[in-house]
């Protein structure tokens, strides 16, 4: 009986994390640039993460080369090549870098993908107009960050 009850409670908990445990951008805790737990409360999907790397979403390849994404045209070279990045960083570190690279790399040119405050002349996306009073959305959702981190974790060379 006790075991059965325990199992039910565990299922309820898992279900509830799906919507209630998204960490808001302003509540993310960085420890030496790394973020330990999932921002969405759910695991990431590397296949969706590969799409986030492309234009229209994270546009990571505007600045990074990734051999595994060679079918996509025009990889930039502003940041390091990401091949083998999972050998260099832990999942928590990669989450921190994607969420706000400026914590890990002071003054980095890499945009903060999961931050919503502290901007100068914040615009309304790419319109050139002012943002207005509405709530600021981060460049990526919590789940997109998780997806892209899951994708980065597949980039191993060793």
């Amino acid at each position: 009986m006790r075991t059965a009850f325990g199992a039910t409670a565990a299922i309820l908990l898992t279900v509830s994390t799906g919507w209630s445990e998204v960490v808001k951008p302003q509540d993310v805790t960085y420890v030496e640039g790394a973020v330990e737990t999932s921002l969405s409360g759910a695991p990431g999907d590397p296949i969706l993460g590969a799409e986030v790397m492309n234009k229209g979403a994270g546009n990571c390849i505007a600045c990074h080369q990734v051999t595994a994404l060679n079918h996509l045209p025009f990889h930039g070279e502003i940041g390091p090549m990401l091949d083998g990045v999972a050998d260099r960083w832990t999942e928590a570190e990669l989450r921190g870098i994607v969420a706000n690279a400026k914590v890990m790399f002071e003054g980095s040119m890499m945009p903060s993908f999961y931050r919503t405050d502290g901007f100068i002349r914040l615009g309304d996306a790419y319109t050139g107009d002012a943002h207005g009073d509405g709530e600021v959305q981060p460049l990526l959702t919590a789940q997109q960050v998780e997806d892209v981190v899951a994708y980065l974790m597949t980039l191993k060379e060793e």
């Binding site: 234009k55 546009n59 390849i61 505007a62 600045c63 045209p73 025009f74 990889h75 930039g76 070279e77 502003i78 940041g79 390091p80 790399f105 003054g107 980095s108 040119m109 945009p111 903060s112 901007f119 100068i120 002349r121 914040l122 615009g123 309304d124 996306a125 790419y126 319109t127 050139g128 107009d129 002012a130 943002h131 600021v136 460049l139």
Partner: protein
């Protein structure tokens, strides 16, 4: 930054002579006030051979159509005073040297003015004509004409004396990281020139070639329109063409290219 193994890519080694006779300086020692660069390069040096070739002969350069349009305006009376530019200034060639020193302190107005402001000042106050839109086609064509007669002359804007505070304001703007992407002009054009950002080969972002005919939008583009596009791409609220901010930024960016030749109308992608 922490970018071991990534070196700043080089501009190419090509040299530019227009119509086989106007020699253009596309590489020069950086002026002392362009603090973080040793050598300055025209944006022409970062374009492909095909794009470069279009600028080498005025018959191929589509920007010269704008110059021809402006030559008509130059000689045509407009406004209540019944005067044309030519009535006061004579041949357009008399504007030789003017592009090279703008933006410039205007003693009468007590401020730094751009060429566009000077043209509109003549239109409104000397011709009694309607002013042109700052980045409009008539205006940009006229700036292309005024630039074309200075081609080959070194850019030499003054940054001291009464222009200094405007220059300082422009410098501040150049290094400010704007928008949700938090990128400054310097991030792209000083720290990363020579590198690819997606499909674009980043230049040092000089304005010696303006107006530029862009193959991408098939028209002549003014300095402030280009600034606006670059700021918009940082997901920022842009400044307006003709604003005090862009005037200051233009003076500062022009000064970074002191020593390069006037090239406008140039061709870019």
């Amino acid at each position: 930054g922490l970018m071991p193994g990534i070196a700043v890519g080089d501009p190419d080694d090509d040299s530019l002579t227009i119509n086989g006779e106007i020699a253009i300086v596309t590489e020069a020692a950086a002026p002392a006030h362009t603090e973080n660069l040793d050598t300055i390069y025209s944006g022409w040096r970062f374009r492909t051979d095909e794009t470069q070739a279009v600028q080498m002969d005025d018959f191929d350069n589509p920007g010269m159509i704008g110059v021809e349009n402006a030559m008509v305006d130059w000689a045509t009376a407009d406004g209540a005073a019944g005067k044309s530019c030519a009535d006061c200034h004579g041949a357009a060639e008399n504007m030789a040297g003017v592009r090279a020193v703008y933006p410039k302190w205007n003693e009468e107005q007590g401020r730094v003015t751009t060429l566009e402001m000077e043209v509109n000042n003549c239109r409104e106050n000397r011709m009694d004509a309607k002013k042109w839109k700052y980045t409009g086609g008539d205006m940009t064509d006229m700036i292309a004409l005024i630039s074309s007669v200075s081609r080959g002359m070194p850019v030499n804007v003054a940054i001291d004396g009464p222009a200094q505070s405007t220059w300082e304001q422009g410098k501040e703007l150049y290094y400010t990281r704007t928008g949700q992407l938090e990128l400054s002009c310097a991030n792209c054009h000083e720290d990363s020139y020579g590198m690819m950002i997606r499909a674009d080969h980043l230049s040092q972002g000089h304005i010696n070639g303006f107006p530029t005919y862009r193959l991408k939008n098939t028209k002549l583009n003014s300095v402030h329109a280009r600034f606006k596009g670059c700021v918009r791409d940082t997901r920022a609220h842009t400044y307006k063409p003709g604003s005090d901010e862009f005037i200051a930024l233009e003076l500062y960016v022009a000064s970074r290219g002191n020593g390069l030749s006037v090239e406008g109308p140039s061709v870019r992608n």
